[in-house]
């Protein structure tokens, strides 16, 4: 059928475009894989976020078991693993987003720059300002584009127009959205396309100038072109931010991350440089997962 052909063509076309952007093919086998890490950062790691024997419970049900890992500064760390393995749970623990759920408890500790996130001296609001978050489903506020970006500053009490204007321009430029929206900052954010909304959410998160940027499957609701744009953006952003990204797309993890952590059933199975992990996984489970044998 002609329409079927047309569809195939379209998919092929977008694939090429991704290729031109990322300059790499998705790894299909171990032999091909080393072409897929053009941007891997091999500079020495300086741990910023450290989890130590971290356990997490939803009521009585334990979701994380004894997680210990060091997330390096100004690099991209990817969390991968099958659905329900606890990727979101550990990510949302870092900015204490899980506190909102009733009946949760934890054991062990997570530190950022040496300070425990559960330190009674530390305000959770301050923590969330230092640790920005981008969600799977883009969630712009029903406000103008401008107000969306400055939201974090406004709630922190910043109202000077000049400062806000400056932050809006900077953040939107950093999130590669400025050229597309600079003429309609006062229009509703809800009129943007899905990919633009997600980049707006990134702009909103970085407007607070956080140290860490958490991303929970930021591209899973986006089309390939928008995904490619976000991936390119992540590469740009790691110069200034420590990024932790959850993804269940292996190729994406390979394309964007420097380090990868593989979780399975609430446990950290393997944590290594991405390239090393994808080329020679040390654990059988990891190999099975990244070669697509389950998950």
């Amino acid at each position: 059928m002609p329409s079927q052909l047309y569809n195939d063509e379209e998919i092929t076309m977008t694939d090429t475009q991704i290729g031109s952007h990322i300059n790499a093919e998705a790894p299909r086998s171990k032999a091909q894989a080393h072409d897929a890490f053009p941007k891997a950062d091999t500079s020495p790691d300086i741990a910023l976020i450290q989890a130590r024997n971290f356990n997490f419970f939803y009521g009585k049900q334990q979701a994380l078991f004894d997680i210990s890992l060091d997330i390096p500064e100004r690099k991209v760390t990817a969390f991968i693993g099958p659905s329900g393995c606890g990727k979101s749970t550990i990510l949302r623990s870092i900015n204490r987003m899980n506190d909102l759920i009733e009946g949760v408890s934890h054991g062990g500790d997570i530190t950022i720059g040496g300070t425990s996130i559960y330190d009674p001296q530390l305000e959770v609001i301050g923590l969330r300002r230092r640790v920005g978050m981008v969600f799977q489903k883009s969630n712009p506020f029903p406000k103008s584009i401008y107000e969306n970006v400055v939201y974090g500053l406004r709630v922190a009490g910043e109202n000077r127009k000049a400062r806000l204007d400056e932050v809006v321009e900077q953040s939107l430029k950093s999130s590669a959205l400025w050229d597309e929206v600079k003429d309609r900052l006062q229009e509703s954010a809800l009129a943007l396309s899905g990919g633009q909304m997600q980049r707006l959410c990134i702009a909103r998160a970085i407007a607070n100038e956080p140290d860490v940027l958490l991303m929970d499957e930021p591209c899973s609701a986006l089309d390939p072109i928008a995904t490619a744009k976000i991936e390119e953006l992540i590469y740009q952003l790691k110069r200034d931010f420590t990024i932790v990204i959850v993804t269940h797309n292996m190729q994406q993890a390979a394309r964007v991350s420097d380090k990868t952590a593989f979780f399975y059933l609430g446990k950290l199975i393997e944590f290594n440089n991405t390239k090393a992990m994808f080329i020679s996984p040390t654990k059988k489970q990891t190999e099975d997962y990244i070669t697509g044998r389950f998950g």
Binding site: R129, F141, R154, A205
Partner: protein, 586 residues
């Protein structure tokens, strides 16, 4: 081309009816009868609503349509007479089979049953009654003379008869047959109406303002005397005190003077009002003088063209909306009731919304969801089922006697024992209804809060907003259209409510409006009129129920239109909010 051999049709066994008779029987899909039932239910409901609205609209609007007036002659030996005479003019209201209490005689055909007519005959000052039933058998003649005039008066309703002459203030007489009669008469009526408006301004606003200031001064001087009594003897003749006393007296004297002047002016205007008179004759021949000051308007019902009728219709509808009631509310307009309903409903809605929204925010966002919150929710929902009169009693006991009484003791002590807030008033009425409608707002708000997606809340919290900031800046705007729905429902419920109002401040006739030009302009303690109560009062408390009937329909119509207008405005606001805050379908 080879001709295809025709194969005998041999359908698959599944499509073949096992029994040829079964094929005739139609299959009905399960569930279809239920669909049918639901549509019947909906149509029955709609039909009832439409019928009710139609009754109200038709009866309410025809009140203002000018109807022809018949000149009726009764047979000389008729038992009935109108004001002792055998001829009269009247508008036909009904023509029906006579309602008798006599047993139906078997064999008598129903068409033989006697008929009777109901007429609106006006001239209540002479006839005593505005409406009359006449037996068909008694009527010997009915015609529509062109020269019949209907005069709307300030008192005793309409006069119906024939104009004879206009006696002007200088004594000159213009006969009704004279060409200039019509113009002169309307000019006179117009100036009389203008003068009446002027008198009203003087008596209501100007004298009202003087009186209000006088009352204040009286209270002030009472307060002063009380103070003086409390002082030791040697300080009672303090020059400062006597100075104050003097200044009060001085102002009082000034006000008294002003009052005298205004009263004299009003009196003079009143006298001029009645300088000319209209002489008119009933169909029986009896003549009567009517001072022009008494005339509100007049028309010749049997001469009107369609355009004139339409003009008359809109004019009298407008006057019904804009004028004050007369003659125990059976004549004139209903403006104070419209105004009272509007102000009270608005106050109620403005009071109930923040109250309900705050309660709902606590219940949904802060309270720990558990058995306790569930019980509160059930209690709130059941509150909506409490008879409204119970709320009225509660309002009387709590707002009027307790809160109002306490306020009087603290702030208006000098006016006691005359209560200021310790008696029914528009504020207490609005608060009582707010209490009654608060469950509606709470339920609607809770639902709309629950519908705000989790993602938006988390997004806000992740930006470093506190819980309250999240609610105020993100959740409430997103929930605003739902809150508006609660507002609309509360308004609709409150605007049509009557029973509780009767206990907390509604009156049959309020001399003043809750808002006017006398300082402080808003008088929350005042009693007020209300359309719903007006309907009840006209329909069930009126001395002349026949005269009140058209007013009941017209007032109901206005109440429905008012609620509709309020609702449509709120719906518009809600649409704007939706457009502004709608969470997209991502």
């Amino acid at each position: 081309m080879p001709i295809l051999e025709k194969k005998p049709i041999n359908p698959h066994p599944a499509f073949r009816p096992a029994d040829p008779r079964a094929a005739v029987k139609k299959r009905s899909t399960y569930g279809e009868p239920l669909v049918w039932l639901t549509s019947v239910g909906l149509s029955a409901g709609l039909l009832m609503v439409v019928a009710l609205l139609a009754v109200v609209f038709v009866n309410g609007l025809t009140v203002f349509w000018p109807k022809p007036v018949a000149a009726v002659t009764l047979s000389p030996n008729a038992k009935d007479s109108v004001g002792g005479a055998k001829s009269f003019a009247g508008t036909v209201i009904k023509h029906q089979k006579k309602i008798t209490h006599a047993a139906v005689i078997p064999g008598q055909k129903s068409s033989d049953a006697p008929y009777e007519w109901q007429f609106y005959i006006g001239n209540k000052d002479l006839y005593g009654l505005g409406y009359k039933y006449i037996d068909n058998a008694d009527i010997v003649g009915m015609s529509r003379p062109k020269d019949i005039i209907v005069i709307e008066r300030l008192e005793y309703g309409n006069a119906i008869g024939r104009a004879v002459s206009l006696v002007e203030d200088d004594g000159s007489v213009v006969a009704a047959e004279h060409a200039s009669f019509g113009n002169r008469f309307s000019a006179k009526v117009r100036t009389a109406n203008e003068r009446r408006a002027e008198i009203k301004v003087i008596e209501k606003s100007k004298i009202g303002r003087v009186n209000a200031r006088m009352r204040e001064l009286t209270l002030q001087s009472q307060e002063l005397e009380k103070q003086v009594k409390g002082l030791p003897k040697h300080r009672q003749n303090d020059p400062e005190l006597s100075h104050e006393r003097k200044s009060i007296e001085h102002e009082e004297r000034g006000l008294q003077e002003e009052y005298d002047q205004l009263a004299a002016k009003a009196r003079a205007l009143r006298e001029v009002q009645n300088a000319s008179t209209l002489k008119y004759r009933l169909l029986s021949g009896q003549e009567k003088d009517l001072p022009i000051g008494q005339v509100v308007s007049f028309y010749y019902p049997n001469q009107l063209s369609l355009v004139q009728k339409i003009g008359h219709f809109f004019h009298s509808f407008w006057r019904f909306l804009a004028e004050e009631p007369r003659e125990a509310n059976t004549e004139g307009g209903i403006f104070p009731a419209i105004f009272g309903t509007f102000v009270m409903t608005l106050m109620m809605s403005l009071a109930v919304t923040p109250f309900g929204v705050i309660a709902a925010i606590y219940l949904r966002e802060y309270a720990k969801q558990g058995i306790w919150v569930r019980m509160v929710r059930i209690a709130v929902n059941n509150l909506a089922g409490v008879p409204s009169i119970v709320f009225g009693v509660f309002g009387l006991g709590f707002f009027v006697y307790f809160v109002g009484g306490t306020m009087d003791k603290i702030f208006f002590n000098s006016a006691l024992p005359t209560p200021t807030f310790g008696t029914g008033g528009i504020l207490w009425a609005a608060l009582t209804l707010a209490l009654m409608t608060v469950p509606v707002v709470i339920v609607a708000t809770e639902e709309s809060l629950a519908a705000v997606p989790r993602g938006v809340r988390e997004g806000s919290l992740a930006c470093g907003a506190s819980k309250w900031q999240t609610i105020r800046r993100v959740v409430l705007p997103a929930a605003a259209p739902g809150i508006m729905t609660g507002f609309i429902l509360a308004m609709a419920r409150g605007a049509g409510e009557v029973a509780p109002l009767m206990m907390v401040g509604v009156v049959k006739l309020a001399p003043t409006l809750p808002l006017d030009t006398v300082v402080p302009f808003v008088h929350l303690e005042r009693k007020f009129m209300h359309l719903g109560f007006h309907i009840y009062d006209l329909g069930f408390q009126s001395p002349d129920s026949e005269a009140a009937k058209p007013m009941v329909f017209a007032t109901t119509l206005v109440l429905i239109l008012l609620i509709l207008a309020l609702n449509l405005t709120a719906v518009r606001v809600r649409q704007n909010l939706r457009r502004k805050y709608a969470l997209s379908a991502v």
